[in-house]
């Protein structure tokens, strides 16, 4: 009896495996296997067939060498670097400022209402946002050109000219405050022990000085997270660009993700596209390490 009870308490030996199995099988097929496939096939010229269909030829580092010699590939990384740098700057400043101001609203009900107001836009499908901005920039009937014409100017094609296209894409979503980063900052500010601020206040520190010497230094983990997520997000986010410019004019808004997409699905060069994916992953890993180095925290978190 006692033994039986013990066995019962330990649980059916196979129960946990049965509970995990469905997820693990799905992950193996749709996530883990594709990762391995991607890494292996980045060393092949591959037309995407399985089991000996089509081209499947080992080329060593051939794909990688081809990419390093490809000027379009370099240009796409140059553009991507622009989006990363400006994206990081924007995300470190604007949502933080907005979050700080919402946090400073003392009445909890009002503070909550402000948060809701800035989160609502997140609920709108991002495709709607992309297409709306495309309309805002439209040469003929767009919002910006409507305003310019009211003041007697002539139409400008912000998305169609090489000098402005990247800035126009960056400007989408201005003032960049509605979203998860805002919530990250507000949560971080809420975690700071109020007694620290109280002590500073008694010592006569102004709100601005408190912000500079208490809040900002103590938010290091949040800034680090926003930095890393911004970089990773910018590297991967090509759909926005594909939707509103298709990478043009020329290659002036081309990014690696878009290049990979086209290499795979327009040209059918799946091996080359896999190599691009692997390189993008390596760059992301590099930036994650860089962020650990840039935002070194004394205590492990």
């Amino acid at each position: 009896m006692n033994l039986k009870l013990k066995k019962k308490l330990k649980g059916d030996k196979i129960a946990p495996y049965l509970m995990i199995a469905p997820t693990l099988i799905l992950l193996a097929i749709f996530a883990l296997y594709p990762v391995v496939l991607s890494m292996v096939k980045s060393f092949f010229r591959w037309s995407g067939g399985f089991g000996g269909n089509g081209i499947n030829q080992f080329v060593g580092f051939g794909n990688y060498l081809q990419l390093f010699k490809d000027p379009v590939f370099w240009q796409s990384w140059g553009n991507s670097l622009f989006f990363m740098v400006t994206g990081v700057v924007v995300n470190l400043i604007f949502p933080f400022l907005c979050g700080f101001m919402i946090f400073s609203v003392k009445n909890p009900k009002a503070s909550y209402r402000w948060r809701v107001a800035f989160v609502v836009p997140m609920v709108v499908p991002s495709m709607v946002i992309f297409l709306l901005w495309q309309f805002i920039y439209d040469v003929d009937i767009g919002v910006i050109n409507n305003i310019i014409r009211i003041f007697g100017g002539s139409g400008v094609d912000l998305l169609g000219s090489a000098s402005s296209v990247k800035w126009a894409i960056r400007f989408m979503g201005f003032p960049w405050v509605g979203g998860t980063f805002l919530l990250v900052y507000i949560a971080g500010l809420g975690n700071i022990d109020n007694s620290v601020r109280e002590a500073a206040r008694i010592d006569g520190a102004s709100r601005l000085r408190q912000l500079l010497f208490i809040d900002i230094p103590l938010l290091k983990p949040q800034f680090k997270m926003v930095f890393t997520l911004s970089v990773i997000g910018e590297i991967q986010d090509f759909v926005k660009i594909q939707t509103i410019t298709g990478g043009g004019p020329g290659y002036y808004s081309y990014v690696p993700g878009l290049y990979m997409y086209k290499t795979a699905f327009d040209s059918g060069e799946y091996g080359l596209a896999s190599a691009m994916g692997v390189l993008m992953m390596l760059v992301m890993l590099g930036f994650t390490y860089l962020s650990n180095f840039l935002f070194k925290t004394e205590a492990a978190d």
Binding site: P16, P34, L131, W133, I141, N146
Partner: protein
Amino acid sequence: MLQAYKANKRKISAGTVINRVMLVIFLIFTLVPFYVLIVNSFKTQNQLLGGVLFFSYPLYWKNYSDAFVKMLPFIWNSVTVTVVSTAGVTFLAALCGYAFGHYVFRGKRVLFAAILVNMMIPSILTLVPSYLVIIRLGLYNTQFALLLPYLAGGSVMGIYLVRGFVEQLPKTVFEAAKIDGISEFRCFISIGIPLLGTILTTVSILALLNFWNDIVWPMLVIEKSALKTIPLGLLEFNQQQGSNKGALFAGYILASIPLLVYFALNMRSFMDSLTEGAIK
């Protein structure tokens, strides 16, 4: 003392004024695109060519009925795919997270690592091969091409959250039931799930937002118009509707309504879940 505090509270400082003014400015600029959207959704093409900054009368309501006919199937597809995959992900995450948090078994650490490693793999790396796997399995242009990968990838974060939650539950709750001879699975369903309520709400809301908003994956595996979800439908509508932008804008609004309604009804848990998802 209390009087003095209240008086102090009522006094509005310069800092407060600056603070509110800045917040209002931020909000106005954030809402500009939506203002443009609403204003122009009530215009005929001719009214639109006359200017896009303000309302022009009479309001052209027909845009909405035109857009409704066009968008309804896409909205329906998005709702079904999102609801089914969110329910599935929540169940799988609960099941799997419960198993990892509740039991001690051989290979637990390795298996957990095999699941968690997926959080670190960028989706861009797997895009191409995952597409080929779908082709290979003959799932291209079917709803399973969306559902199965969503179930796989969507549950990883949830498993992590649920496991952390289960580990903090007192074991004694379950022991009593097991002495009564309830099976492991029954124990999970009737004791585990009710206790997991709050964390499962978070898991489901985060999953729901991801699936609802996904563009890249459906773009790769769905070509048939009848199966398209909202983002793809919007693109298709956008290409067809060049000559009548007003109806297109009405379509954008209709496409946004389902999730807005859901948000309005579940605001508290939505806000909490987003915060939790953001900081984990």
